[in-house]
Symmetry: C2
Subunit: 216 residues, 2 copies
DNA sequence: GTCTATACATGGATAGAC
DNA sequence: GTCTATCCATGTATAGAC
């Protein structure tokens, strides 16, 4: 597609950053070769020279951005030992990334993926990076709870990641509502955390009830 | 903006339907006066005659579509008496509306709202219709559970609605993943439902633990 | 490798005929 | 009310100069 010299890499990076900025600041609808090139401070034609098409640039930017964002939180994820801690980390990520819009970015890409065929797989694999982190944590954390055997970490991780993106998008149109939503989830997390700390008798009762119910 | 004759209403409706179809089938990025008019089978200039601008048409379409979708499920929502039933209804809605893409539509609008200033409030009020239904159900249902006093129905309703939109968007890039996510949530719902059916002693233990934890 | 110039398509919006 | 014609901005993509 293009050689691998130092200068080439530099403009490629500029374009990737420009694509991310345009996507977060202007949304998928206003993202074009021109707007990206302007944000990147390079010529519009270079989009096609280096990436072939706008879609492919966006796909590359998705991978690039997701990898960087996830890496930033990998250490914090691996330190999590309980559900309520996981929620706290989620809240931290929300507050830190919201400004940069790095999560709503995935929302923009998900919306764009509907038409731009190239974007679908790229967005999926970008999300997959987040999902993998969350899944690891959930597997580790749920093992020690009364409901470890009744939950599916892989599915839950997907639900958590997708929900997070949804709430991030929602924040764009109703900031107060999004805050209320996150508060409510946090409360819910505390509630589940409380179950982790039940006495042995009560835990056994809960577990027993779960077995009965899940058999239906 | 335009008179209220029968014929006027008819083309307005055509445009609204066309806008919804274009939005769901092509996404916000490919939605334009021309594509909408083609889908509606009317002339492109009528978008501006009847609605002033594309954005205003989209805003109107959002209200129109959300109202119709919510109305379709209002009866079913009001019949819900437990959390697991609520989840089941959610699953039904997912399956029924997925084909028509009426939920991912809200995702497209949320994505578009980032730039199109007019869209923000309209999308928010469209989502609000869903939220209101869910909130009513949650308030009713949670009252009868051990954790009714520890949860915030308004916030939870917002979390549920936004999450649903996120999962719906996610489905577009990874159908299997979205199914796994919904399955996991359903399992989680059964788990919570099980807590509703605990014996009085265990319930008291749970409630006690919740009070202790939430005091921190 | 990068830029300028340029082609051609698509989109927003209006004027004027019917 | 609706359609045709039209203007102009924006977008994708390529050719060719430097």
């Amino acid at each position: 597609m293009s050689p691998e010299t130092a200068k080439s890499q530099e403009t490629k990076t500029k374009l990737l950053e420009g694509a991310l900025r345009t996507l977060t600041e202007q949304g998928i609808a206003k993202t074009s070769a021109r707007t990206i090139a302007t944000a990147a401070g390079v010529n519009q034609a270079l989009v096609f020279y280096h990436f072939g098409s706008v879609d492919e640039l966006l796909a590359a930017a998705c991978r690039y951005g997701a990898e960087r964002s996830v890496a930033r939180y990998r250490a914090r994820f691996s330190a999590v030992t309980s559900l309520s801690e996981l929620l706290a980390v989620g809240r931290q990520i929300h507050e830190a990334e919201q400004e940069g819009g790095h999560v709503a970015l995935l929302g923009q890409l998900l919306a764009g993926a509907q038409t731009h065929a190239t974007l679908g797989p790229a967005t999926a694999s970008g999300l997959e990076l987040w999902i993998a982190e969350i899944e690891q944590v959930l597997t580790r954390v749920l093992a020690g709870t009364p409901f470890g055997e009744f939950t599916d970490p892989a599915g839950l991780a997907r639900a958590v990641a997708a929900s997070f993106v949804g709430i991030e998008l929602y924040e764009g149109v109703d900031a107060a509502g999004a805050t209320a939503a996150l508060d409510a989830l946090e409360q819910l997390g505390l509630l589940v955390a409380a179950l982790e700390e039940l006495g042995p008798v009560a835990q056994r009762a809960v577990r027993h009830q779960l077995r009965r119910t899940s058999r239906r």
